[in-house]
Symmetry: C2
Subunit: 113 residues, 2 copies
């Protein structure tokens, strides 16, 4: 393959990555909405560990685990920001209705923002 | 869907992301090897811009462009580290054979490491 063909392939892989990341974001938002709506326990620090363990198990190279985890740390970070921005109004409205403190937490991992 | 089902779906999406990122890494390594082997011009700062432009064009939400770019900045960073580690011996050997300076550059974007 020529360099141009290899770059075309990378661009195509990147478009597929965008599609998967968008679906992951949709699913994380759905999980967050469910937790807020059903008042499920939010704080589950084990969840983030499970995400990275799953990534390590799926990795067959050539990226070392540590580099792949660096990418997923950024993904988890970005998902948290999305959840914070999208779900804060829902949580605040619900907390006000229930007379609770409306501190915003990450619906996926339960970490306080 | 229950929270458990949503998390299963996220874990499955993450495994697909690992597969795509691994393929992207393989392809970036191949591009790097080609450049080193054929002594093609390395410095092409426009390439990184093209990567982010491609990502922006492919994005249909729910992640804002800026957050998606944050993820891809990390991806490009990690690919550069991989290339540096994998291709430096090839470049150094070739430079020594040709009597060139063996400074390591990023084969994908041409940035000096």
């Amino acid at each position: 393959m020529t360099l141009q063909e290899l770059r075309k392939e990378i661009d195509e892989l990147d478009r597929q990555l965008v599609t998967l990341l968008s679906r992951r974001a949709e699913t994380a938002l759905e999980a967050g909405r469910l937790k807020v709506a059903t008042d499920l326990p939010i704080y589950e620090p084990a969840r983030e560990k499970t995400i990275y363990e799953n990534v390590r198990k799926a990795n067959l190279g050539p990226l070392p685990d540590i580099e792949l985890i660096h990418i997923f740390e950024r993904i988890v970070d970005v998902m948290r920001t999305l959840q914070k921005n999208e779900l804060a109004p829902q949580r605040n409205a619900q907390a006000a209705a229930l007379g609770h403190d409306a501190g915003v937490q990450s619906p996926e991992t339960g970490n306080r923002q």
